[in-house]
């Protein structure tokens, strides 16, 4: 099979992280990123396998430059992040790492957590202020390390709300959430949503990925979140050969826990932070393969055509489909990806819609059924508010598959220790030998 060059971009050398030219190459239905470092040789990494085709997965949008960029353009992407004024998307979600500590030691961890370093509450206030200055009131995700290890987590949540952030989500492994009183405290502090690490329904998956059998802890956490009423997204790191054959089981489990569980979010494994080995192509799963597996495993209940590219970040970074769970059935909403996306959309409008969507649908509404005129519409409204269910995936980029065009469109920004906003994949970018661009070095093994 002849190879065809279909595009050119920039990337980095996975050894020295120097910016280098990279080519997108088609070989049959597969797309590869091919790049050559003058010192460290050629690298070739799978980007996309199968259908929908790479070139068809598009949603063009105008650039939405930062409202208040903190850094100058000097060395070029990805070396000027802060955000710089060339960055092309607003902050949809700002991520604050409130601790380096963790109560697990996962085989894969983009944060390479396990240090012993917590910013004090004054520093966290400064981080919130920097987000306001740079991007205004976007959605917040408190992350780490494991953020539930902070004794003052409730105070951190309240502080964020008091400073004007409407939606605050907790990114957690859930181990601490088996304590009902702890969940009650989070609720009373105003926590809107939990982004719960949930890799499957079989303990062997957790043994492999997380080093412990913790399924029962996850189930206890969900039970408590149901009791207290905090909207939850199940977040699955998908690793080929570990849990990619049981993706729909997670969706089914989520549907059984509507309305607390608001959706399932899949993250194909990326090779940054703490990783077990240098990745081969067989260690990667791409977005179209995920869509195909979800469709096949659900025996067509979920259709590949249900999924659409995003309106906020770069189209190649994610997919999503929305449903309403009604009387045991999934009603798909939102047309399909074969519909013509003829117009170039406004980047800032995509960002606004995504922020509003996440705030509305990833938290648990308190909608009570009201009597009155047009009762069937009232009932429909109630069902939509309570039973909305999203299935989505986001493919992060690492030093091997980084496409700088995608990075420039990133809308998830991590607040660095200096208080700058760094696109998620740039913040976590790690060379083969553990060198970081932005994250402070820790105990790299």
């Amino acid at each position: 099979m002849m190879e065809e060059r279909i595009g050119v971009t920039k990337s980095v050398c996975p050894i020295c992280l120097k910016t280098i030219e990279a080519y997108k190459v088609r070989n049959d239905e597969n797309i590869y990123l091919v790049k050559k470092c003058s010192e460290h040789g050629e690298f070739r990494t799978i980007l996309w396998r199968g259908e929908p085709h790479y070139e068809e997965w598009e949603r063009p949008k105008t650039a939405a430059y930062p409202l208040n960029p903190f850094t100058e353009v000097s060395k070029g992407c990805p070396y000027d992040c802060g955000l710089c004024y060339d960055h092309r998307q607003h902050t949809c979600t700002a991520l604050i790492e409130i601790t380096d500590r963790c109560n697990l030691n996962c085989k894969f961890c983009f944060a390479n957590a396990g240090g012993n370093n917590d910013p004090d509450i004054g520093t966290i206030k400064y981080y919130y202020q920097r987000i306001l200055e740079s991007s205004g009131t976007c959605n917040i995700q408190l992350s780490g390390g494991e953020p539930t290890l902070r004794e003052d987590l409730g105070e951190i949540i309240k502080l964020g709300h008091n400073m004007g952030f409407e939606f605050i989500q907790l990114n957690t492994n859930g181990l601490k959430l088996k304590d009902l009183d702890f969940v009650k405290k989070l609720k009373s502090a105003g926590l809107n949503s939990v982004f719960l690490q949930f890799d499957g329904l079989d303990d062997s998956i957790y043994s492999t990925l997380r080093g412990q059998k913790i399924l029962k802890d996850k189930l206890a956490a969900i039970e408590n979140l149901e009791k207290i009423g905090i909207g939850t997204i199940l977040v699955c790191t998908v690793v080929p050969g570990v849990n990619d054959s049981s993706l729909y089981d997670i969706v089914k489990f989520g549907l059984d826990h509507i309305p607390t569980v608001r959706g399932v979010h899949f993250q194909p494994v990326s090779y940054f932070g703490r990783i077990p080995t240098i990745p081969k192509d067989r260690d990667r799963i791409t977005l179209p393969e995920l869509m195909d597996k979800l469709s096949k495993q659900s025996e067509g209940i979920i259709k590949v055509t249900d999924f659409k590219p995003p309106g906020c970040e770069n189209a190649l970074c994610s997919f999503h489909a929305n449903y309403v769970g009604m009387e045991g059935k999934l009603i798909h909403l939102g047309g399909d990806h074969n519909e013509c996306i003829c117009n170039i959309e406004k980047g800032e409008e995509g960002s606004r819609k995504t922020k509003a969507f996440v705030e509305r649908n990833w938290s648990l509404g308190q909608d009570k059924l009201k009597e009155g005129k047009y009762s069937s519409f009232t009932q429909l409204l109630h069902i939509i508010k309570n039973n909305y269910f999203s299935i989505s995936a986001m493919a992060f980029q690492d030093a091997w598959n980084l496409d700088i065009e995608r990075l420039m469109d990133c809308c998830i920004h991590v607040v660095s220790k200096k208080g700058n906003l760094i696109p998620f994949c740039a913040y976590n970018l790690t060379s083969q030998h553990g060198k970081n661009l932005y994250r402070e070095m820790r105990h790299f093994k």
């Binding site: 659409k308 995003p310 309106g311 906020c312 999503h320 929305n322 309403v324 009603i331 798909h332 909403l333 939102g334 047309g335 399909d336 995509g350 819609k353 995504t354 509003a356 969507f357 996440v358 509305r360 005129k373 047009y374 009762s375 069937s376 519409f377 009232t378 429909l380 409204l381 939509i384 508010k385 909305y388």
Partner: protein, 69 residues
């Protein structure tokens, strides 16, 4: 008798068929999703009446609730 009361209560007559409209099941389609709701409709031509307060009230709320990203 009850039905007649409802008809009188609605106060609407279908302009095309001249018969009183009555409440009945209809399929509302939005963003490719089908939803079963009850609305006033003509029993003959099946034309559906969407009153202004519904269009600007709950129907708009449903539309907002379904806005995609």
């Amino acid at each position: 008798m009850d039905k007649k009361k409802k008809i009188n209560k609605s106060g609407w007559i279908c302009a095309k068929c001249s018969c009183p409209v009555e409440e009945g099941p209809i399929k509302a389609m939005y963003l490719s999703g089908n939803f079963d709701v009850k609305l006033l409709r003509c029993p003959v031509c099946k034309n559906v009446l969407v009153p202004e307060d519904l269009a600007l009230g709950q129907m708009l709320e449903v539309e907002k609730g379904l806005e995609d990203k």
